[in-house]
Subunit: 418 residues, 2 copies
């Protein structure tokens, strides 16, 4: 296969489809999503069989257990995937919304209209459910999509792709509105991320290695999610019960997520009140604690935290703890080590809460709440294509709105510029 | 000078200054802008003398008249520059605005807070007024800036930079919040656009060549403005008087601007009504007309428009004219040739106006108004750092808001994720 030629062909189909999708009504798009859900249920056994084929090949190729687990579509996961798609139908269509339409002194009315971005390229790893999830969000937001899943999931993804085409055709929308690449050649990724004439934005979903590589090589804008080294700061005026409850939840509710707290900062004058109890609770959960010198003086028998502990996103039952002198020292620590994902302060003090919200430069800043809330569903986006650690365009959880942009609309009555 | 070392040093200063600027109150920022205006007036003669030096060197180096004109700071231009700065003081501070703060089912309140982007790199050509203009917008929006003006304006820009530092210091803000590069080495641009650790976004202001080069080589996001190949479509149901007035204005009000109409599309059944009169008016202004076959059958003695005419941004008194069968053919033409800057329809028909607004994928879409309105001042932005032809982040005229982003704020009362 000539990959350059294949990708140019895919790109041209996507551009044409994007134009049709931008015009599609909310009703047409919802009909397509319903028809896709129907097709998925109808071809459930075919898809699960294709997935078994991927799993068998993966085992033969020596994939590790975690990867095989992510690859597997159980009947329950399959149903969850279709239900996720159906939830997107219920979301409001963002396209066409006009805001801030006001008269200007010249007499023209000027406002902004929300419009699709065009063609979204999504590059992801083994989970086949991303194929449905990403397709649904791109379609609902009026975009065309080019999806490039992991090579280990190629058969599952192609079986799902057939259902996508069937549903799109049933709703009278172009089948090429979602194209799932039929090649596992890595050169296809290189083509996908370097042709702004075909692709408007790339959303990579996967490990840090994948995202760093794509960001480095892309000539198309990337909405990227790098790491989440999140902090909670327990202020001197924290309510001790809230502090313990929130700091416990932020670490232990789930370990492998990007919004999990990785470092706990504690004001020196409240450390003796909250840390011994917290340490007891963490240890009961099997969380390894690593502390600064002052922390180690207070909590016996814990390891010393080194520079690398402040920098690391553990994604594991490990927590670094540092006792600080005041809010400024806490914010300096965050400024230096945070990946600018999500940070929380626990305090009853109005002025320090307000300062923390204003001055901490992370995509989510919180008062008296667990960093685990940093999530598109918790924020009411209805769905999430990813969490952006960039500053431009979209920061933090990205939903349908993040797959759109705003153009200017001007209404006149023969108005001319003087 | 070791350019890499110099730029790393500039970058580190900018990062530090950005943190202070993000915290600065609207009052502090306005005080700095007022102090800068004062310093500029105080050092007016020094700046004009430095500018004379640049001009003399430019003449010796054989710069052409147009470039020398752009480089020159006359007393009137100087006053206009300072007044522009003072207008930025009057603009609302976008930083810290919280919107959509709502309760979620979990009990947390979630909203968005507008925040500066961080460090803005601005690369521009000969006009020294851009130094003030760009500095004012970056400061007001709470960002730090690194400015790289044209080498031919180095003395003017350094004299202005001294006033920037004086004003910042007077307001207690870091002098490094705006750094005007002291080197004319082109390698400095290469460094500026490839270090995301120092710079959050690049705004190039200048010719297409400069912008294409920067976009190609940048590793930092770019808010770019490429060409403006703008269209006006006169629909069959246009009011002929409005059509003539608007189409005349869109071409002749100014020739060298990006929002000037370059191609006029006319419905075949209204062509005989509007084109002869329009042609007479254009010719009176000295506008050269180039037409399709049908246009040439109607207007005698005009040149044939070739494929390259549909593609070109003339920036000159030349207009391409095409007669089309209907709205769809007009929109197909726009889809194929437009640079997606600004397009207008002239019509009294509700449905076609609505379709044009929804379906034309340009940063500004207009009904019964001159494309010349596509401008930050006309749109009420108060000021304009540029006009974006990108889709992500900002489309069309970019004001203070385009130099900011939104982070999420979460307010709880000890809330934890279940």
């Amino acid at each position: 296969m000539d990959i350059q030629q294949y990708m140019a062909n895919v790109g041209e189909h996507a551009r044409d489809a994007a134009r049709a999708m931008a015009r599609a009504s909310a009703g047409d798009k919802n009909n397509a999503l319903m028809a896709i859900a129907g097709a998925l249920r109808e071809h459930r056994d075919t898809i699960l069989a294709a997935n078994q084929g991927d799993l068998a090949r993966g085992r033969d190729n020596g994939l590790d257990a975690a990867l095989l687990d992510r690859l597997e579509l159980t009947p329950a996961r399959f149903e969850g995937m279709v239900e996720g798609l159906e939830q997107v139908i219920a979301l409001a269509d963002p396209v066409g919304e006009i805001t801030d339409l006001n008269y200007r002194p010249s007499g023209i009315q000027v406002g902004r209209m929300r419009v699709p971005l065009g063609v979204i390229g999504i590059i992801y790893e083994s989970r086949p459910n991303v194929t449905i999830d990403a397709a649904a969000l791109c379609l609902k937001s009026g975009n065309a999509a080019i999806l490039r899943g992991g090579s280990e999931a190629i058969d599952s993804n192609q079986a799902i792709a057939a259902c996508l085409r069937q549903g799109l055709a049933a709703a009278g929308l172009p089948e090429t509105a979602v194209q799932v690449l039929e090649t596992t050649d890595r050169a296809a990724v290189g083509e996908l991320i370097t042709h702004p004439e075909y692709v408007d934005v790339i959303v990579p979903r996967g490990g840090k290695g994948l995202i760093e590589r794509i960001s480095r090589e892309a000539r198309v804008p990337v909405i990227k999610h790098l790491d989440g080294n999140c902090h909670t700061y327990i202020d001197v005026d924290a309510d001790a019960d809230k502090a313990i409850k929130v700091a416990y939840n932020a670490k232990t509710q789930r370990y492998g997520t990007c919004n999990t707290m990785e470092t706990l900062l504690v004001h020196r004058d409240i450390a003796a009140t909250v840390l011994p109890e917290l340490a007891r609770m963490y240890r009961e959960e099997g969380v390894e604690l690593r502390g600064c010198e002052r922390t180690r003086a207070l909590l016996k028998d814990i390891n010393a935290a080194t520079e690398s502990d402040w920098e690391e996103e553990y994604l594991a039952p490990i927590l670094a703890i540092r006792i600080v002198d005041d809010l400024d020292q806490a914010m300096d620590h965050i400024h230096r080590y945070s990946s600018q994902h999500s940070e929380a302060i626990i305090t009853e003090n109005y002025t320090r809460a307000r300062r923390f919200l204003a001055e901490v430069d992370s995509s989510s800043v919180m008062v008296n709440a667990s960093t685990r809330f940093a999530d598109g569903f918790e924020y009411g986006l209805g769905a999430e294509i990813g969490i952006s650690t960039d500053k431009l365009h979209a920061r933090g959880p990205v939903g349908l709105e993040g797959l759109t942009s705003q153009k200017w609309v001007v209404l006149g009555d023969g108005h001319v510029r003087q």
